[in-house]
């Protein structure tokens, strides 16, 4: 589904990603771990097409297409979804309006008919259950005045509605209490299907107790320095990042 080869990217002249190689197949969950500043979030943002990052080398192929050539909206329409580490507040746009607009754009791109507000409500009702929310959240402005936990839940709600093929969760666990973490992770797990894939970017192993990865990759200074199964996350939890950062120079 996703093939990343030698990906390099910089922001403001500073190189952050220094040659990332990663393959993700349908049905898989990959965890990207690493210390602060290792480039985890940059990788997530580059995959979504954030204009603040300049790709300086490498290729990314998604479903046979050159992902780096696509605009952010084209990536979304093709099924890429980024759950933001810091979801953006948009006062003046209701959650309902925003979600329906996004949903219809993606349906249009897939050659499906757009849904009117009434029909969309039916779709929404089922998705809201996934994040244990009532319909009242839909009349609030997007993330506006939401708590940290509500913002993350709203990201998962969007993911549920937009049904991506490739979901990238950027530090979705940060700032969550244990109940919110359970809801968010539960939502993600129920959205797992054999034909979609998930990349979980996280600093801590905690989230991976709830969203169990098939593969764990450790990022350090813009490179993947170690890959393994889910037990790698436990080892990191026990031994810290210093343990893997050391061999980075020779990797």
């Amino acid at each position: 589904m996703l093939e990343i080869r030698g990906l390099r990217a910089s922001a403001g002249g500073n190189e952050i990603l220094r040659g990332i190689d990663l393959s993700v197949n349908a049905g898989e969950v990959h965890a990207i771990m690493g210390p602060n500043g290792s480039g985890k979030s940059t990788l997530a943002q580059v995959l979504a097409g954030h204009p603040a990052y300049e790709v300086t080398g490498g290729q990314v192929t998604y479903m046979g297409q050159d992902l780096l050539e696509m605009e952010p909206e084209e990536r979304a329409q093709a099924g890429v979804f980024l759950a933001f580490q810091y979801p953006v507040e948009i006062p003046g746009v209701s959650n309902a309006y925003f979600l329906r607009a996004a949903y219809n754009e993606i349906r249009k791109a897939r050659g499906l008919e757009e849904l009117d507000p009434m029909d969309f409500l039916d779709v929404l009702e089922e998705k809201l259950k996934l994040v244990e929310w009532g319909p009242e959240i839909m009349s609030r402005a997007v993330n506006s005045g939401f708590s940290g936990g509500e913002k993350k839940r709203n990201e998962i709600l969007q993911m549920a509605v937009l049904e991506p093929r490739l979901a990238v969760l950027d530090e979705t666990d940060s700032g969550l209490d244990i109940d919110a973490l359970r809801i968010v992770a539960g939502g993600v797990n129920r959205l797992r299907r054999p034909d979609n894939a998930t990349i979980v970017v996280t600093h801590y192993q905690r989230l991976l107790n709830y969203i169990v990865p098939d593969y764990v990759h450790v990022l350090s200074a813009g490179r993947i320095v170690r890959s393994g199964g889910k037990e790698l996350a436990l080892e990191l939890e026990a031994r810290g990042y210093d343990w893997v950062e050391a061999p980075a120079g020779v990797a």
Binding site: A52, E71, P72, E73, I90, G92, A101, A102
Partner: protein, 432 residues
């Protein structure tokens, strides 16, 4: 140009008019003859050069009977049940207006008719609130008081439907001037919503509207006043709204300004007693070469009053906007709580805004704040929307609309709010 107006005044002064009105008009004319129109050196008009208006020959519009209900229909919001007064080129047109019987003796009629009938409410208020010193334009309007709207809601009466006043420019001939004069009196404990629309039936026509509206809000009255200015983008619009508030009254205003080559609106509110609440919301949308100016002044003369003001602007093309917001707090106005915000969104390199909050505070136990911002669309928000599949152009429109919607949402009367939302969406290119 001043001389032309003086001559016109002398020619019309002999016309039949009530005793009380003659000195009001005469004093206004004297004032105008003395000061003329605002000059570029006038600080209050520094960013709004009005030479294009003051040096041109505008002829008073002749009555026209060419306007049909169909032509007015797009501006009446589709609410046939709302009391509707239509003025064409400044004159009341009964055939286009519909005023069903209003509850509790409330009235909505043409000012000319009320003057002719010797209405005591009219003689008590007209010309007694809006000072002719406000500007040469205000003086000129007062000197030529003839017609406009008169809305009177007696004490304790509640109007459920808004009264809609439509001032349409027929554009039948180029270069005409209309000077509507309006009086809105909401007596003690009464409740009413009034919508004032300035519209054109001939987009692209150059004409001049010089409007003055006096609003008198009695003790404990609740008034919602919506002003929609969508004149021709080649036209000139100068407006003064002067509000007098009595104790414990609540006055809320929303003004939308999106028309005019040069458009200026002064909104002055006088808080004449304690425990008054004043909410002023405004939105201006400019494009092309438009210049839209909003000047507000809130006079806190007594203690324990709150005022809250939010004006927002969206500018594109080479357009200009001006915002000047004065909050004046007199020494006796202790416990004043006043907040003023002006936020501007510039969507093009060529667009400009001049914003000037002016707090003049002479009391010490007050809470007064102001803030002005000028910015562009937030790149992070734009990326957020795009990452959800919304294309860049639509995302820009959505964010722009969201910026504007924040003030439109403050209109409490739902049918009015929905119509305003539709109007703003259409102007900004947003779909449903």
């Amino acid at each position: 140009m001043t001389a032309t107006w003086v001559r016109r005044f002398e020619e019309t002064a002999a016309a039949a008019e009530p005793e009380w009105l003659r000195p009001v008009r005469r004093a206004a004319m004297d004032r105008f003859a003395q000061t003329g129109f605002p000059a570029p050196r006038d600080e209050e008009w520094r960013f709004t050069p009005v030479a294009a208006i003051t040096q041109a020959e505008f002829e008073p519009a002749r009555p026209t009977h060419q306007v049909t209900g169909d032509a007015i229909a797009p501006f009446v919001f589709g609410h046939a049940e709302w009391p509707l007064l239509v003025f064409v080129d400044g004159r009341f047109d009964p055939s286009l207006s519909t005023v069903p019987p209003l509850p509790g003796g409330a009235r909505a009629l043409s000012l000319a008719a009320a003057i002719a009938a010797g209405d005591p409410v009219v003689s008590r208020h007209v010309g007694h609130h809006a000072p002719v010193e406000a500007s040469g334009f205000a003086a000129l309007n007062t000197a030529f008081i003839q017609d406009g709207a008169f809305v009177h809601v007696p004490a304790g009466v509640e109007l459920t439907a808004p009264v809609h006043l439509v001032f349409a420019s027929s554009g039948e001939t180029e270069g005409t001037v209309a000077q509507p004069r309006n009086l809105i009196v909401i007596e003690a404990g009464a409740r009413a919503s009034v919508v004032e629309s300035y519209v054109t039936l001939a987009p692209g026509r150059r004409y001049f509207t010089n409007a003055v509206t006096e609003v008198v809000s009695g003790e404990g009255a609740w008034t919602e006043h919506t002003r929609i200015q969508r004149e021709s983008e080649a036209a000139y619009h100068i407006g003064l709204t002067h509000v007098e508030q009595a104790a414990e009254s609540h006055y809320r205003s929303f003004t939308l300004a999106m028309g005019g080559a040069i458009a200026r609106h002064n909104l002055h509110v006088r808080l004449n007693a304690p425990r008054i609440e004043t909410l002023l919301y405004g939105l201006y949308l400019t494009r092309g070469d438009q210049l839209v100016d909003n000047h507000t002044a809130i006079h806190h003369d007594h203690p324990d009053c709150n005022s809250w003001e939010v004006y927002k602007g969206v500018m594109t093309g080479d357009s200009r906007a001006v915002f000047n917001g004065k909050v004046l707090v007199r020494p006796e106005a202790q416990k004043t709580d006043a907040k003023q915000t002006n936020r501007n969104l510039l969507l093009s390199e060529g667009a400009r805004v001049h914003t000037k909050p002016q707090l003049e505070i002479f009391a010490d136990d007050v809470k007064c704040t102001h803030g002005a911002t000028v910015g562009r669309l937030d790149d992070v928000a734009l990326f957020y929307l795009r990452s959800r599949g919304i294309d860049e152009a639509s995302a820009r429109v959505l964010l722009t609309y969201a910026f504007a919607a924040e003030v439109v949402e403050e209109v409490t009367l739902e049918p009015v709010r929905l119509e305003l939302e539709r109007l703003v969406r259409a102007r900004l290119g947003a779909g449903s």
